[in-house]
């Protein structure tokens, strides 16, 4: 084709394309910048924080949150929300404690069972959301009640897990230069994040999730399997919550039905601070990882400081959450005001 198109040059120009106002990457850039700045501030104040030991601990202490936040990222990218994950973590922990401690099941078998239950639970919620056409927050709210209730039915106390295999797993680590210990659970978190990045950006499933969060109707018209994708997204979130439960169980060596209260909020906050649009359709799994580390960093800073109280974590997280939500809103608003967006409504 060599026909000259008279006006195509006009279209090829992108007058409003200031790279900084890119709704896609600006939040991620902002997250990274804030994290780098925050870390720099910490290091200036407490030079000891610049060590692989602190960094490795940051990963270990937030491993369960990091894992569950990967699943949450997919849910939010698809335009949904999953309030059940904290309860699922607690339930998984209790289930493991019961299976291993009371029933004498080998931990690996118990892990497989727990993951299967958590994944199936997520899939059921996804199916309800899709088929009953109900808001995800109320469906997963029911899931939250149910998982927490089941955990309580299994036990009301904190059950310790004592098993040689557990001890082995807990002692596994990879020594980093500088004396830091990358524990197994930290490794699992990193692995899950990497897997999440690949799943989100390099598979058809990932593209379908973004498509769903962008516009359900258009996605369906373009041939995205809406129902299957919705179910898969919540199943994935259930799986990561189950995995986080296993990691939490390894981390605490116990199952406690009141564990992980409010983790769903921390996970949502990590996702949003990581630059994912809460209304879905845009964001990065890598950003979520930074969002998790940000929360960990604030806690570490508070520990290092010694005079600050733990509640500042929540307040700072809330402030960040607010900042990012308003930024998202502003970006949407800016793009809606763009003259080329048209006004044919």
């Amino acid at each position: 084709m060599t026909t000259r198109i008279p006006d195509a040059g006009m279209l090829n120009a992108r007058p409003f394309n200031v790279r900084l106002f890119n709704a896609g990457t600006l939040p991620l850039v902002a997250t990274l910048a804030i994290f780098a700045l925050a870390y720099a501030v910490c290091v200036v104040q407490f030079p000891a924080m610049l060590s692989t030991r602190v960094a490795a601990n940051l990963l270990t202490d937030n491993a369960f949150l990091g894992i569950v936040a990967v699943g949450m990222t997919f849910v939010i990218l698809s335009g949904g929300i999953d309030l059940s994950v904290g309860s699922v973590i607690a339930f998984t922990g209790v289930l493991l404690a019961v299976l291993i401690g009371r029933a004498g099941v080998h931990p690996l078998v118990a892990f497989a069972l727990a993951l299967a239950v958590a994944t199936a639970g997520g899939a059921v919620m996804g199916a309800m959301i899709h088929h009953l056409e109900m808001p995800p927050f109320i469906v997963t709210l029911a899931g939250m009640f149910l998982a927490r209730g089941m955990a309580f039915v299994l036990t009301t106390d904190s059950l310790p897990v004592e098993h040689a295999f557990y001890a082995t797993l807990q002692q596994l680590y990879w020594r980093l230069p500088g004396g830091g210990r990358l524990t197994l659970i930290a490794g699992v978190m990193v692995a899950v994040t990497v897997a999440g990045i690949i799943l989100a950006h390099r598979t058809r499933f990932g593209a379908n999730v973004y498509a769903l969060g962008g516009n359900r109707t258009s996605a369906a018209l373009m041939g995205v399997p809406v129902g299957a994708t919705t179910i898969a997204v919540y199943a994935l979130s259930g799986f990561t919550a189950g995995l986080a439960g296993i990691v939490f169980s390894l981390y605490t060596s116990a199952g406690y039905p009141l564990a992980a209260v409010g983790v769903e909020l921390d996970a949502i906050a990590a996702v949003v601070i990581g630059g994912t649009l809460l209304t879905g359709g845009a964001g990065f799994v890598a950003g979520t990882f930074v969002g998790v580390l940000m929360q960990g960093l604030i806690q570490t800073y508070i520990v290092f400081d010694g005079t600050l109280s733990s509640w500042w974590t929540k307040i700072v997280i809330g402030a960040l959450l607010f900042g990012f939500i308003v930024q998202q809103r502003a970006l949407v608003w800016l793009s809606a005001r763009r003259p080329s967006a048209g006004s044919a409504t």
Binding site: L132, I138, V153, S309, W311, K314, I315, I325, R329
Partner: protein, 337 residues
Amino acid sequence: MMPGTATRALAGALPRFSVLALILLASWLAFPGYFDVTVNDGRLYGSLIDVLNRGAPVAILAIGMTLVIATGGVDLSVGAVMAVSGAVAATLIADGQPLAVALAAALGAGVLCGLWNGILVAVLDIQPIVATLILMVTGRGIAQLVTEGAIVTFVDESLIFIGSGAVAGMPMPVVIAAVLAAAAVLLVRRTALGMFIEAIGVNRRASVQAGLNVRVVLIAVYVASGFCAALAGVIVAADIRGADANNAGLWLELDAILAVVLGGASLLGGRFSILMSIVGALIIQAMNTGILISGFPPEFNLILKAAIVVVILVLQSPQAGRIAAAIAARTGITRRR
């Protein structure tokens, strides 16, 4: 009242009261002394009174939540706001401030929280779930900031009276809830507010075109929800004679939403009934108390609640609506809502 409205209201009330009666009856079967009410020191005691008393905070939350849900929104921050107002009241009282100052500050804090939510929703046009999530996360931190992390206890009799006193035999929380409910009903039904709220919830575009000041109404409902949450927070703090920033009002936003949904309001907004939401709150509390006194572990509560949410979801879902409409079309009955 027009006859049509009256029958419609009755038709909505009947199933809810039946459910409540059923739960009470079941509790009575499990625990024969359930309906006994005794008078001690001029104060009523008994399981029924207990249901009312324990149900009061959620009922109060449900009043505000009803208005928010009627506009098609939701307020996830009420539990956290309870913690904030409880912390403010307890800290001020413990510092020796008079009750009036403590109360005004606590309720004022709730109103400010509501204003914040309302501005995010109405002016910045952020989805309600997202907007109120911010305060849900931050609120407990703020509450802990106020109490400096400690559980602040107090011995001020005037504040304690709000939580465990009695007026004419009735526990104070019940009296407060009843007065607030009456005031709220008067406010929305004797002014045009109720109609505006419902109109916005049903069709926001048409409401804008009819000249409604949608923003102001939206801000008002979130402020109302913040005020109700603050009041509930004060009652809970007064009841336990202290403020626990971590646990005060925990999960209660979910109970409040559940109460409103049990009361028959749609999460998509529209028609609402404050009284029915309160009945919903009582159903939840009757269940809690019933399970407790009939010797079941209280943990069953959560599972039961989950089951109820699922049942309501199925009943309210568009799928069920289509099926019901099909049945109605076949039998010639017109479906109500």
